[in-house]
Symmetry: C2
């Protein structure tokens, strides 16, 4: 595995590979890698000649008071995991390399970013879209892999790519979960043992909702109420939102139909956790 | 010369040329080409293996009530001029090809876009930055040529390229002027004979300012007053702004120093005209 910290070195490497007609897969991450990230690298390995994994904790997507300073990090372990899973390149740029001067440019994706995460974190998606645009420009044409856990982010990036004509194919990959249903997240590291136990209510309530939907329930309001009740039963979990939306446009729906996605966010101790499911499919993708 | 209207066809052509290690120059325009545009194509021809000229009247950069509907167009003449000057590729995408679905993404460059043109045309530069980002993505790594007449635009694009790590080298090229000093502009077509005559006050006042500066004047306020008086002497010309700024950062300066740029904008009849000079160099670049 090649390890780069400078944009120029990554360019040189990828230019050489592209001259040999190698296809490039990109897995952008903020590090502290878990099986969810590794599933993206594996998928990229299957579908591309070369996989580039990037680790960059992007300050633009954290607001004042969020967990930028405490975001978990273990570059030693990340490097070993990337090597073991077969990432061809690991790119870990420094803050100075990514933002050598004050950045004044931002990429905004309206409508897609106003509600849900965008409402709770108003500057978050501009920070995400900006750094992802930058990583796409640095990497060049590629297939780019993102986890479906950040469903809204996945749709924001997909829309940005279409709107700005990036030569990038955005590929969403299934959420990977612990055996008890909790979606893997670097932020799970913040949870105490009790909080970790309580946090399973997120996936459990989504699964119950999906069970009801497959049994014939079509009312968004009723499904949201069900989930609110479930989550309220766990005093350590404070629901931020539960929404039923069209999975692509993220527009709220009154009636649940194929393509509807249910998204949820909650505070659990110091962690802000999100999860989502396809309304008719329910929970899938448990980790080994 | 190859003429393309579809993004996919341009991709295929440029991918083939890049595989042969050809360097690409890009000249993005809104058409109705004049010698100013052609000087960009010539410069690109000198510095690149292949020059791609694009013509697209980008609706995003026009506000309600501006001249989008009446913007002058002559694709027949433009095509002949591009062929004659030696552009290798002419790309004229349709509105449908550029914006096949409602665009929700915009690229914003703060600070650089708040004053001068940005104050008079608040949505203008987001429209410019967005379409230029799109054209850069469509074209891929290149040298991109822009006229210095749109000085603020040139700085906005330069900053966007640095901030978002586009693999593009932005090259500003000197303003081309009529013999009487008026900067070439597609919008000069809107001028009546009298207005055309009056419009020369813009370059004339800039030249007078530069003469004074080279004679020792360093006060921005005095230089601005001089230009305001000059322009006021032409009743057909209504000054929008005159500013003395650092040429790169666009931050206003009190004292004129090397690197200071003087920018001016005015309404002349139906036309909104802009011009600018390097404070110490004055007027250069007359057309043949």
């Amino acid at each position: 595995m090649k390890l780069f910290s400078q944009v120029a070195d990554l360019h040189e490497c990828l230019d050489g590979l592209r001259a040999q007609k190698k296809s490039v897969g990109l897995v952008p991450t903020m590090g502290y890698l878990h099986e969810g990230h590794l599933s993206l690298v594996e998928r990229s390995n299957e579908e591309n000649d070369v996989t580039v994994t990037t680790i960059f904790v992007n300050p633009l997507q954290f607001a004042e008071g969020e967990d930028l300073a405490s975001y978990p990090s273990d570059l030693q372990s990340d490097t070993e995991l990337c090597e073991k899973i077969g990432s061809d390149v690991l790119f870990i740029p420094s803050l100075q390399d990514m933002y050598p001067e004050p950045i004044l440019t931002s990429v905004q994706v309206d409508d897609f970013t106003k509600r849900m995460e965008g409402e709770s974190r108003p500057t978050h998606f501009a920070g995400v879209a900006t750094v992802v645009a930058k990583l796409f420009n640095i990497t060049g044409p590629c297939n780019a892999y993102f986890g479906e856990k950040d469903w809204q982010q996945l749709q924001v990036i997909t829309k940005m790519v279409r709107d700005l004509s990036f030569r990038v194919c955005v590929i969403g990959c299934p959420i990977i979960r612990h055996r008890d249903g909790l979606a893997l997240s670097s932020r799970n590291a913040y949870l105490t043992t009790d909080e970790r136990q309580s946090a399973t209510v997120l996936s459990r309530s989504l699964q119950k909702a999906s069970d009801l939907i497959r049994a014939g329930e079509t009312s968004s309001v009723d499904i949201q109420k069900l989930i609110e009740r479930e989550v309220a039963s766990e005093p350590l979990v404070e629901l931020d939102y539960v929404e039923t939306v069209d999975g692509s446009s993220l527009i709220p729906v009154d009636e649940i139909v194929p393509g509807t996605r249910i998204l949820i966010a909650a505070a659990v101790g110091k962690a802000r956790l999100i999860d989502n499911i396809d309304a008719f499919t329910g929970i899938t993708g448990f980790s080994s």
